[in-house]
């Protein structure tokens, strides 16, 4: 009896023991920083002296700060590039799936930005997009002088260049790999049936491919939101440094500036709390998606 009880206890606690290390890591590196950030947002702290409790002052200052609202606007502009960042890898994947001469080359070329990382790509893009950079040199050589702009010193061109490069081009490679993997799970008989029915490429794409990988598309959209909201800083820092002026100054960039240029840690934490709310909303969508898929 005692042996049976002990075995039952072990079976009861075993799952918890197995996930405990992960829970500890999650608690230390995810939960604690989130809670600490929210707590810090109620303090005034320059990173070296004793923090001073100031209640909601950081939030009051933030909501009056032009830079905060400007950063929300800029982040919103970047989010508008998500549809293109979904459609383009989808279409390219569908084309690549058909078989393309030199496919390994295209695959490598498309995926290269992912290997190099955002900091290096930001630095490279900064050089490419300069007034006297390779992009304008190529445009001038092709006789397209009127398209050779000062990409990084015009506010509208800078934010849209950032949106296109970061939201669409940089993620094209990984997007293709992601959707190709999703498409590989589609039953070939569906395509055979479509062929027999005389469906052309586009009809097959819209009526067979897209519905079959719907979950993957939705997941990619959610990932895209997270990438724009919370992973763009390193690219922006090296590409435009948040400028010209405040043209590419996003919410994430504002957190960095407040915390590590102004050394107003509490104020930066208030900004980060707002970003946390946005990301939490996205995370809720993601969980709902995954639950629906599981059902």
């Amino acid at each position: 009896m005692k042996r049976k009880l002990s075995k039952k206890n072990t079976e009861l606690f075993e799952p918890y023991m197995l996930i405990t290390p992960l829970l500890i890591l999650l608690a230390v590196f995810i939960l604690y920083p989130v809670i600490a950030n929210i707590v810090m947002s109620f303090f005034k702290w320059n990173g070296i002296k004793k923090p001073e409790f100031i209640g909601l002052e950081n939030y009051a200052e933030m909501f009056k700060d032009e830079k905060f609202w400007g950063s929300i606007k800029n982040t919103g502009i970047l989010l508008l590039y998500i549809p293109l960042g979904v459609i383009l890898p989808l279409v390219v994947s569908a084309v690549l799936r058909e078989g393309l001469k030199g496919w390994p080359f295209f695959r490598a070329a498309l995926y290269l930005p992912n290997i190099l990382g955002y900091v290096i790509m930001g630095s490279i893009c900064n050089i490419v997009f300069r007034k006297t950079g390779p992009l304008n040199n190529i445009l001038n050589a092709l006789g397209l002088q009127n398209l050779a702009k000062d990409w990084l010193m015009s506010p509208s061109l800078a934010i849209n260049s950032l949106g296109f490069v970061y939201g669409v081009w940089l993620r094209l490679g990984f997007g293709c790999i992601f959707f190709l993997a999703a498409m590989s799970s589609i039953d070939e008989s569906l395509y055979d049936a479509a062929k027999i029915d005389g469906a052309k490429w586009w009809k097959t794409f819209f009526n067979v491919t897209l519905p079959s990988i719907r979950f993957s598309i939705e997941f990619w959209v959610v990932l895209s939101f997270i990438e724009v909201l919370a992973r763009a800083f390193s690219f922006i820092y090296t590409f435009t440094n948040g400028g010209p002026g405040f043209a590419t100054f996003t919410l994430e960039y504002g957190i960095y500036t407040s915390g590590f240029v102004a050394f107003k840690m509490g104020y930066a934490s208030a900004w980060a709390s707002v970003l946390f709310v946005f990301c939490a909303i996205i995370a809720v969508f993601q969980v709902k998606l995954m639950k629906r898929e599981a059902e």
């Binding site: 320059n46 990173g47 070296i48 002296k49 300069r130 007034k131 006297t132 950079g133 990084l152 010193m153 015009s154 506010p155 440094n241 948040g242 400028g243 010209p244 002026g245 405040f246 043209a247 100054f249 500036t257 407040s258 590590f260 240029v261 102004a262 050394f263 107003k264």
Partner: protein
């Protein structure tokens, strides 16, 4: 036998420890010693210190410049340990660390008179001179307009005459443009430094010794000359500042273009880059002229030089186990041969009165330092405004044209409000 073998290393180690403790290692963090002329100068000064002080060994650690540097220093402060000596920019970036740096009055007493009291006051706790000194200033930092005399002559302009008014300055720019010469070479990639630096010169010209009062009760808003300065900047940007061939960050290529004779004027620095030494070496010592500012018609501070009493300096951290040795290192950098070596190699202007400027062989240096000076406006601003927001406002107003002059003045005024709230 085994006991002897075990004891020998212990005795040897003990002996070694005893001789090692007589040499004190002084660790310095700074953002200048990693490369360029500063590296060469500091290596020489360090070697001199070690030669004159055999009991001191210097561990000079190059740290990245910019935001990263102060993040590293803050991390060290939070850990309560780190280097013995830390380099700071003069002003608010140093004052934030006053609680963590040693008062230096007793260490500098023997050579204090070699540096003006204004410089020491700026380097004191809080910066008003009423509390102990916490930093030894190495350089003074300023901004001004370097000129290529040959190009000015080519356009029919007297190269030795500083324009008496803003109208005369603009007329010179017109004449240069008419002669096919770029009036001012500028660069805006990464930051509007040409605009930023010229504004600091303007503000010195307008406010003079009242610059410090901008942090108390003197305003930008309502000052007709400040508005005139903005309008002049707009005109210069629209017609006379040439950034066509520039592209790199920090306007270095603009300075290179000026040194290559591609423009008549350049808004440069008095520290270790894009300075009198670079341009004199490139264009000829007698071919480089200098205007400290653009003189506004009703300005009471004509030809005043904007100058930070301390561009960069060294402080001893409170956790240092070798403060006396560290103080000797500071003295070697601030007094004796050190300032002359640093100035001669880097071109950064030193603050030690005994440094023989004439021995450098550059007449322009004496000319710059002979002028009356006014405080740099960024020395009274908060960290964020001085190192980020002011440049962004300048970009919005004068490079991209997103905001009007009135909006720019309002934003500049908000920086003064921030500075007053921070005090």
């Amino acid at each position: 036998m085994c006991v002897i073998f075990m004891l020998v290393p212990a005795v040897w180690a003990g002996g070694k420890k005893e001789s090692a403790s007589s040499v004190k290692t002084v660790t310095i963090w700074d953002f200048k010693c990693g490369s360029g002329a500063s590296k060469v100068a500091m290596e020489q000064i360090d070697a001199l210190i070690e030669k004159n002080n055999p009991d001191i060994k210097i561990n000079h650690v190059a740290q990245p410049d910019g935001d990263n540097y102060y993040q590293l220093v803050r991390a060290a402060v939070q850990a309560g340990e780190g280097p013995d000596i830390v380099m700071f920019h003069g002003g608010v970036q140093a004052y934030e660390f006053d609680d963590f740096t040693l008062p230096l009055d007793k260490y500098i007493a023997s050579w204090r008179s070699e540096i003006a009291e204004d410089n020491w006051a700026f380097c004191s706790e809080g910066g008003d001179g009423s509390k102990p000194v916490h930093m030894v200033p190495l350089t003074t930092q300023g901004f001004g307009i370097y000129t290529n005399k040959a190009l000015l002559k080519k356009a029919g302009i007297d190269p030795d005459k500083v324009p008496a008014t803003a109208e005369e300055f603009i007329a010179n720019c017109k004449a240069l443009k008419a002669a096919g010469i770029a009036p001012i070479v500028g660069g805006f990639s990464g930051g509007p430094y040409t605009v930023d630096f010229l504004f600091r010169c303007f503000i010195a010209n307008i406010y003079g010794d009242k610059v410090a009062d901008l942090a108390k009760n003197v305003d930008f808003i309502g000052n007709a000359q400040f508005k005139e300065a903005c309008e002049i900047m707009k005109e210069l940007m629209s017609n006379y500042i040439d950034d066509e061939a520039t592209s790199t960050v920090y306007f270095t290529d603009a300075g290179d273009n000026f040194a290559a004779g591609k423009g008549a004027m350049f808004i440069g620095l008095l520290s270790d880059v894009n300075n009198w030494k670079t341009f004199c070496d490139a264009l000829g010592k007698d071919n480089v002229g200098y205007y400290p500012t653009v003189n506004f018609t009703n300005a009471s501070n004509k030809n005043i030089q904007v100058l930070q009493p301390c561009g960069i300096g060294y402080s001893i951290m409170s956790w240092s186990k070798n403060p006396d040795a560290a103080a000797k290192v500071l003295q070697a950098y601030g007094s004796g041969e050190g300032p002359g070596i640093f100035m001669g190699i880097t071109g950064a202007l030193g603050v030690n009165k005994k440094a023989d400027i004439n021995s450098l062989g550059y007449p322009i240096v004496g000319e710059i330092l002979s002028r009356n000076s006014a405080l740099d406006v960024t020395n009274i601003l908060t960290n964020e405004d001085a190192n980020s927001n002011f440049d962004r406002y300048c970009t919005e107003a004068f490079v991209t044209g997103e905001i009007t002059i009135d909006e720019f003045i309002t934003k500049c005024q908000s920086m003064l409000v921030n500075a007053r709230a921070a005090r």
